[in-house]
Amino acid sequence: MNNSLEFFDRFIFILSDVQRDTTVFWILVKYCFVLAFFLYFLFALLVLRQTFLMAQTFKTTAEPVLKIFAFIHLLFALGLVVLALVVL
């Protein structure tokens, strides 16, 4: 519990940290991160698309559960891109 609180405090601190190192090098690194996360977002889109396609190919009662998981994964991937743009 303490650990998670510490992690959360640290996270808030990093978000509110205004004195960032904004040298060109770190800006480049930031956009490398954003690019990697964006590519991952495309992968998540592919997973969602394939889940929907496969659910048509083989229909079972597991279909809604898998679709929800694929959608949550896509949201996480999108969140990652947004978070990288905001935090880094």
Binding site: D17, V47, L80, V87
Partner: protein, 229 residues
Amino acid sequence: MPEVFSSATSTPTDPVVVEDQPVEPRHHRNVDDYSQVMRDEVECTNPYVAFGPKPVNTSFESQDAQEHIVLFVRKHPIVNVGWILTTIVLSIAPVFLQFFPFLDFFPERFQLMSVIGWYVFILGFVLEKFLTWFYHVNLLTDERIIDIDFESLLYKRVSAAKIDNIEDVTSSTAGFLGSMLDYGNVHIQTAGQVQEINFETVPQPEKITRLVNELLLEEEREKLEGRIR
């Protein structure tokens, strides 16, 4: 007699004439009628199992209206152990950053994003592995054998062969785990365009072979009795 008891409208109604409608001949018998293997199995309601006899609420894209799924099989759950162990190791990997701080050259916010990204990647890895296992499925219907190969997110292949095109069925079980957990391969050779359909690492391969033989016999019987569609 009061009028109420002698109703003028009490004439017997004309019997409803039912026109002779062509009765659809019943092409298929219920699988339990001819398959000893299926008679011993109960209907499968769980879509996550590897061996699903007579599945309920399950269908596939090219299924005919009169076609029934007799059995679906996918790889034995033991094949998932590898990626589950990998996931566990990957999940605890960031803990070792405390002992081997090789991300320390990054500012803290980059370290934080790396760790968050790592866990989202793991989620994607798990999802991809599970979907690959779940949708790599073989179906046996009372008419056809369908092989849905979902090797990865970028490769999907669906092949089907009619039961009466089957020429040869062999099953094989190999290795210690295969013998202990009763899983193996079933090779089905056909005379159609699809030369061979393989069920890989499926549970109870012998039972599947027996079922295919029973389906084949029933198909022959349908031909003899003129029950072919």
